[in-house]
Subunit: 126 residues, 2 copies
Amino acid sequence: MRIGELAKRTNTPHRLLRYYEEQGLILAERGPNGYRRYNENDVDRVIQIRGLLDAGLPTRIIKQILPCLNKPRNIFFKDATPEMLATLRFERDRMTERIRCLTKNRDAIGEYLSTVEKCRAPEPTS
Amino acid sequence: MRIGELAKRTNTPHRLLRYYEEQGLILAERGPNGYRRYNENDVDRVIQIRGLLDAGLPTRIIKQILPCLNKPRNIFFKDATPEMLATLRFERDRMTERIRCLTKNRDAIGEYLSTVEKCRAPEPTS
DNA sequence: CTTGACTCTCACATCGGTGTGAGGGTTGAG
DNA sequence: CTCAACCCTCACACCGATGTGAGAGTCAAG
């Protein structure tokens, strides 16, 4: 598929797809006319990228962790340098901390909401 | 305490504490000399703010949800407008989505790491 | 052939969070 | 008194993610 379709299916502006490519997060083949060609996998990949960006990870880190993820477990074992592994552990722990923080605050919001609802319920609106 | 101590205890540059104040996330009393005075609660509050920022929430949203959180459940029930409640639900769901994404990717990193470790273990380094 | 929808590259703009420094007041220890 | 270590405000700079638009090529439908 071409960039327009990918943009629609991932709900992502063209501009950002090109940006992600520039940052090395996705790579697109080119048709003879110079147009980018994407495949089905790219849809999930872009969605994943956007999710991680939204969760506060910078492209630099996403680029490092993406190759180690959701792959048919074949590659990426030779070039796993100690520094790389350390980075991965560090980011994994950082993500755990983010999850902890988000969960705590989300639950607090939920609790607040249900409290409010309880206060409102006995008093019918009309 | 003054800004320096808060900065040290929250591991946050002065600049940002002033920025958070400017954005309405914290509010500091002022001593007669104009110096900001903080209390113990502000330590946790700043840490919480930083956690949320790191998890991708903008100050604008943090400002909205903070008053509904970790409070002695007393206030903030009259001014809970329907729009406000809708915002809260929306952000809560967004946070849930972030948690889902982070968890999935963190676990994938963990899996990768343990796979690598398993490959390395049987082969002593020396 | 023409037109409109799509694509390309390039470049400048914006926005939020953060860094940095200038210029100046306050305060406590020596 | 003086000096160091704080604090203040203000303002400009940076960086990463994103918006926007100009200028030009491609291509299918009419």
